[in-house]
Symmetry: C2
Subunit: 305 residues, 2 copies
């Protein structure tokens, strides 16, 4: 156990005697901040790849923070994990082989495993570069990194670089879910288009990929527009889907979903689950469709080239 009173971290401040985690210093969100009150620090470590902080919050359950940015909280993680998983899986006629890139908290794999039980998915492979995130999630986020996932022979965990893995596995996956942040820096543009091409080459014909867009409609709509336009230079059919959750800055999270099947209507699920309310907390057939309905100004901006 880490002693909260002697704990030092650039994202943790003492305010009126209480300890708060805050994204106040994040360059990505200038002028605004979301903060969570800390009950206790569960773990803090520097892995080979990043700063990992896990704390128990006052009102959002356990929280995973990577490099000072909230990745998930137990209170609202299901919103994002369900949307990113079920939108592509429910849009594909036969998603037998599924790949997840990133997503070390294992919440996405938890959702994909529901489709194994339903008989639609044969196997899922998760490629995560940082095994420390997986191990800490097993310990502190057991409702995401469910123990049963690690005993399921249809669920494969690979500790590797996602780019390298994609290069080595072409024409293989019906659905790819990329739950990792975008590369940043000078090679960004080159990198992105290359990444889209790599994803494309790993998909089977008619395959569907979904990617965290990393920027939301409130922070940088121009960037999002450019990203979508770039994806459209690679894929024939690209759509933007979104969900809302309190623990992400600006409360909105967007995803690009893409396929080379021009006829495919990604906005409508091919299947519905009879027991929607048992299987899902957030997702449902109507949520699938409405997640593609964008505010008028956003729809207008994103439809421009």
């Amino acid at each position: 156990m880490v002693d909260l009173h002697t704990f030092k971290h650039p994202s943790v401040a003492v305010i009126n005697g209480d300890h708060w985690f805050s994204e106040m210093n994040a360059d990505s969100f200038p002028g605004q901040a979301f903060s969570l009150k800390i009950k206790r620090i569960l773990h803090h470590a520097q892995s080979e790849f990043q700063d990992i902080l896990i704390f128990e919050s006052e009102t959002f359950g356990n929280v995973l923070v990577l490099n000072g940015i909230v990745q998930c909280t137990e209170k609202d993680e299901f919103v994002y994990q369900e949307l990113i998983s079920h939108v592509p899986l429910m849009s594909h006629p036969a998603p037998k082989n599924v790949l997840v890139i990133g997503g070390g908290d294992c919440g996405v794999v938890r959702e994909v495993a529901k489709h194994i039980k339903l008989g639609f998915v044969d196997n899922v492979t998760m490629v995560e570069i940082d095994d420390m995130v997986i191990n800490l999630s097993r310990k502190y986020l057991p409702n995401m990194a469910l123990p049963e996932l690690f005993e399921n022979e249809k669920v494969n965990f690979v500790i590797d670089d996602g780019f390298k893995f994609l290069k080595e596995n072409t024409n293989k996956y019906d659905v790819i879910i990329t739950d990792s942040s975008d590369p940043e820096g000078p090679a960004e543009e080159f990198f992105q288009t290359n990444y889209f091409r790599l994803l494309q080459s790993s998909l089977t014909p008619g395959g569907i990929v979904i990617m965290q867009s990393s920027e939301n409609i409130w922070l940088n709509l121009d960037y999002l527009k450019q990203l979508k336009n770039k994806a459209e230079t690679v894929f024939k059919n690209v759509k933007y889907t979104q969900c809302y959750m309190p623990s992400y800055t600006s409360g909105q999270l967007g995803l690009l979903v893409a396929t080379d099947d021009e006829e495919k209507d990604l906005t409508r699920p091919l299947r519905t689950a009879d027991n929607e309310r048992e299987l899902f907390r957030y997702y449902g057939a109507k949520i699938h469709e409405s997640s593609f309905v964008l505010p008028t100004w956003v729809a207008s901006e994103l439809s421009q080239k």
Copy 2:
């Protein structure tokens, strides 16, 4: 001009040399906080009714704060103002007489005035108890409290208590928009049902009322359920509609919309504007419909009695 460096307010703190407004101490949002970086304080006053703070933020434009809670920011106010106005107005076949209760920033009246121009609304009356909010909004939020609204003879401003005004004006309004917070305290339950009855008696037959629900799905779903059930003891047809905006805590804001017309489908607009993209930034026919699509767990909870 208020000197930021000597300015004292319970919601303003200096962090790493910068001044931040924060809802960190708000009892309504335990354990979480949304903060905005302050560029300069525009006005601070104690009116007869409340603490009024207006500041220019770093990235959200000018911000109106009442009793420590953000009421609107120039960046995202249109989301809420458009949804609360256009959902009832577009659902009513002939909304000739419109009443707005509260909404001192005048953003709702600005939206209703669009329907005067379109020829659907004959007149709108805004009843606000605190004229200081209106006067300060005219000065510091001129894109909400548009100068032209105060020269429009079809727009009436009344400085009065909303409850008193409703009692004095029965069977008069086709649409009522209540943009004020709920009363809190021991008389809450009695008050709410009474308030619903007052609203009902001021509506014309087939009239529609929309009310800020004051609680959102993430903070207190049980309370919201009780509130909806209470509204259903008064009105024959009650629905919950929602929007998402970064400056409201948990990023989500819900509204109850109600009518005594059992046959009315409140979730579908009766009219669409040909020039949707010129008239609205957020609202549109598809947004109207999808604003009623709730996450599976919320839909399930709210459908229970």
